[in-house]
Symmetry: C2
Subunit: 594 residues, 2 copies
């Protein structure tokens, strides 16, 4: 058998290797015939090397080379020689040399690929790329992302191990709970009529590990949600899952900051600056209209309800009277925006349900626009002072309900920043958002519900609000935000049984409901629970940011489509009726037919 083992990879040979005899193996990337000579670019995952087949030098090898087609796998032997003067390829790491081949073996032939591997400039539809993922991988881009993902995972594990955390694998065949998103179910054959559920996160298991005294746990965990998929979701996704005992927020923040530092260093060679900025949920909403502000640029939101209230502009005044808000932002140098551009932004914010976008330009002589006349000189001065408007700036205002105004302004702020190139793409701005509300109001069912899960600890300064003003009570929940994306969230958990009971009472949960929704877990917490806290971070999102892609499928080897299908293997698929019989299951259609 031909010994196809490489002496060097296709990305390795340099001028220093000239004169050496080498064995290379790989794929035929590109073939060019030049007056008798045949040039082959040979490819492996490490790079490309040019092979020369000269009929004068070795006619047998040349004859075989003449039959080669794209993507055939070959193994060759020959001598490293310099490229002719002027024929070097500076774009290629191996561009100063070529290999003169005397021995060639075809290891396997290839059908013509459905799209070009060698020309990655040609746009290929994603559906085609997913169907032939094994060929798409050869084009390099996805493979590079997978290597970054590998580096990130290893950096995470090294770092957490060094911080005395223990990785524990928790079950994938787990228990269905009515909380949260829809579960993927797995029918049990041994216990007909019952089901496992794939875990949406290892939350319960990791808290049980703390109850069990494990002290510091982590896992790079597969999680599953049967949701109607948004563009950036997958039915299976990966979470960096962390939990620790006898510690507080003061301990987990530096831990996670160090983790990000380690990942960025390992994957990008970049220094991340710590500590990260911190901002309360209330401040984030007030200043950016969102709990995940992108801080790579400024342009904060400014509330002007108190000024607008004293104006004669009825549109603003009516909104305020109806309990709404008037809020805006100041675009530095934005006075250059055309009427058309302003109209486009008005249409843009309309998508979020707000009815209009008021504007004022800051000229030499002061504010100008069709609504300035409703504001007295004093009020105009107040507006200028409040917004920090300077000559050449543009102010935008929205008057509507608070939530809707915030949402529209958040989107507007980010859209303007993109349009006006205000974002430094090389720069990363991490941010802790803290003090999330403990409860939310379920308007339909008219009762409190946990803003996170009901095991989230209240903020110790707000214990007195639990009974009197629960919606004002803050929690010890926190999010890590990067460049406007939520990377993960976590919280201090309740460890005290009495406090847990009080929270359940505030949530109006009966004993029976508690048992049905949380089952044995609530009982487990009664056997001596240490103070503990943790967080879950989205690995897919982190790798997307590291690799600069907006497409989650670009960071997963074999992803699913938005319809949760694998186009390559054609999963999900019909199964043998025997398999369903074993599980004592029937399809609804069968039922209907019978």
């Amino acid at each position: 058998m031909f010994d196809y083992r490489r002496s060097h990879t296709c990305g390795e040979l340099r001028t220093a290797h000239i004169g050496q005899r080498v064995t290379l193996s790989g794929w035929v990337h590109r073939r060019r015939d030049h007056g008798g000579l045949i040039f082959i670019d040979l490819r492996d995952r490490f790079g490309l090397t040019q092979l020369v087949f000269d009929p004068q030098f070795n006619s047998d090898a040349h004859a075989i080379a003449n039959r080669l087609r794209s993507e055939w796998v070959i193994s060759v032997r020959g001598e490293v020689i310099p490229r002719g003067s002027g024929l070097e390829n500076p774009k290629l790491a191996t561009g100063t040399i070529e290999v003169q081949i005397d021995t060639i073996e075809v290891l396997s032939r290839a059908k013509t690929p459905p799209f070009s591997i060698c020309d990655d400039q040609i746009e290929v539809g994603e559906e085609m790329r997913l169907k032939y993922r094994f060929l798409d991988l050869r084009r390099g881009h996805i493979a590079d992302n997978l290597r970054t993902r590998h580096k990130a995972m290893l950096a995470i594990r090294r770092y957490l191990d060094a911080s005395h955390f223990c990785e524990v694998q928790t079950p994938i065949l787990a228990k269905s709970t009515p909380e949260g998103a829809r579960d993927y179910l797995v029918p049990s054959r041994v216990h007909p009529g019952t089901f496992y559920a794939l875990p949406q996160s290892p939350q319960i298991f990791k808290q049980l590990l703390m109850v069990g005294g494990l002290d510091r746990y982590f896992q790079i965990a597969a999680c599953f949600r049967d949701e109607d998929l948004r563009a950036d979701r997958q039915p299976e996704f990966t979470q960096i899952d962390i939990e620790m005992s006898f510690m507080t927020i003061q301990d987990i923040f530096p831990l996670i900051e160090g983790l990000m530092k380690a990942i960025w260093k390992a994957c990008l060679g970049k220094e991340v600056h710590t500590p990260f900025r911190r901002m309360t949920y209330a401040d984030a909403l007030r200043d950016f209209g969102t709990d995940k502000p992108d801080l790579r640029f400024g342009m904060p939101l400014v509330t002007v309800s108190d000024i607008a209230e004293r104006s004669d502009f009825s549109v603003f005044k009516e909104q305020i009277a109806a309990g709404g808000i008037v809020k805006g932002l100041c675009i530095k140098g934005g006075a250059d925006l055309s009427r058309k551009a302003i109209d486009d932004y008005t249409q843009f914010v309309g998508r979020f349900g707000v009815k209009g976008l008021a504007w004022m330009k800051m000229a030499q002589e002061g504010l100008s626009s069709n609504i300035v006349k409703f504001f007295s000189d004093d009020l105009q001065k107040e507006l200028i002072e409040r917004t920090g408007a300077e000559k050449g700036d543009l102010l935008f205002f929205i008057a509507d309900q608070t939530d809707r105004t915030n949402q529209a302004l958040d989107h507007l702020r980010r859209q303007i920043a993109r349009d006006r190139h205000m974002i430094n793409g090389d720069h990363d701005e991490f941010l802790w958002v803290t003090d999330f509300p403990l409860f939310a109001w379920n308007a339909e069912e008219k009762h409190l519900e946990g803003a996170h899960h009901p095991f989230t600890a209240p903020h110790p300064d707000d214990f007195h609000l639990l009974e009197t003003a629960p919606l004002q009570a803050r929690s010890l929940a926190y999010d890590l935000v990067l460049n406007g994306y939520e990377l993960g969230s976590g919280s201090q958990r309740i460890h005290d049984g009495d406090l847990q009971q009080k929270i359940f009472e505030l949530l109006k949960l009966t004993e029976e409901q508690i048992l049905r929704r949380f089952g044995f877990f609530v009982d487990a917490l009664k056997y001596g629970t240490p103070p503990h806290l943790g967080m879950g971070l989205g690995l897919d999102r982190i790798v997307m940011i590291l690799t600069g892609t907006e497409n989650i499928r670009d960071v997963i080897a074999f992803p699913k489509t938005q319809r949760a299908s694998d186009l390559m293997s054609e999963a999900p698929s019909e199964v043998d009726p025997n398999q369903l019989r074993d599980l004592r299951l029937l399809l609804e259609e069968e039922e209907a037919r019978s």
Copy 2:
């Protein structure tokens, strides 16, 4: 809020800390009252520390300590003091000191545990331990195993990363294939009537990564099999999965040997000696009756059919005439075995379907037993020479069909070794078993089938046998064996399309069957497949050996029972009828009732 953060762990304080003020937090492990003084052993995952509450010194703290019960979680402050002379506990790392407490906070109370945490001498039924796994974890044994598992996983990842392998996560929501064991199915809601399957191994995905040019892949992968469980199986288990391109067995053996070295070093601090022994499948069967021999002791099997054939012992001769075999082993010093012991072994081998166990003792004057008379002096000499019998040894012989004889003698050999303490438990004997048969004969359906999967490469020396004597053809499949356990198996895969086609033809697979059974994968292999090989190693088994347990559930945080149930969360369980309606599924019982 009380700051419960520890200045030291419960395993940390020594004589050198005497005089220091410390904060410790943990569980009340044991409480003793001694004439006013209360002693508490405080426990965290790092160890135990003795606390002293003296009513003269601090009556408030003493009063609280008086109310403490087992497994309450507390935080304490006090000064490290020496234990009184003669009161040191040499069994405890912290046994020379104690902490005199002036401040104590109860962090959470605990219900009385259903079994003792502090006395791990008390045997607790496994069912109880699994139901209260979070308490079982506090007893330390399982937690220690999980830490060993963590160390092993990290060592694997570090080592394979250093060897330029890239960890790639492959899908868990995968495609059902009719090959192999029974799949766990996951009904699709988006595509009603279709199912995902949980992967039995990432085999297809990893080969596709090689087709995609990834070059070197690994994964510590979750795998699933819906089998009726044997004692050492779990429905979900973990495989160290490896695949590499442009390499051969000469490359993977040292790679895996280095991997084992790294794991043993990281987990046990032990040096594993490499290279490992190698043995062909044929030799393993001949000399040990099994393809996974335990080489920590000798006592090889000896075939004596040719001698027995010439004897007058009709029992042996009839078996040989019927195509059987006569094979035995020599127990050094075994002549001391009682008649009763020999009867017990006869009964033991009977379990494997063999009808008898012949024996001969080697006395000063030669062989003796009730069957020696059927052997001439010359034949007795031949037997002695063949088996290496010396004075005081015992020979056992079995005459039966080859497979059955091998199975019985393999079990007998290992049972004798255990009974006679021939195994050095501190010693590990790794072994490569190579040259497995390529095909097996399906006696029921009367055709060849792949002994492994049909992508396993034939041994290059046996290409000529493929058509003429396929059952004699060897493959490039190999197993790694340790102390009688199969740790994993792998093979060189077929990369040549023509050879693959020939194998399919020999297996009498039609195009349609090939498509149905292997689907898109066979087509994918036609787009330029590099030579590749790999292996899968059972992580659970490796950790079992590292931790010295025979129970697979002892190396898994939240294991399932042999009936595939989680006794703690009570999974699998019934689900809400809405969940089934979403999936358009009916249970058979419902059908029957309607």
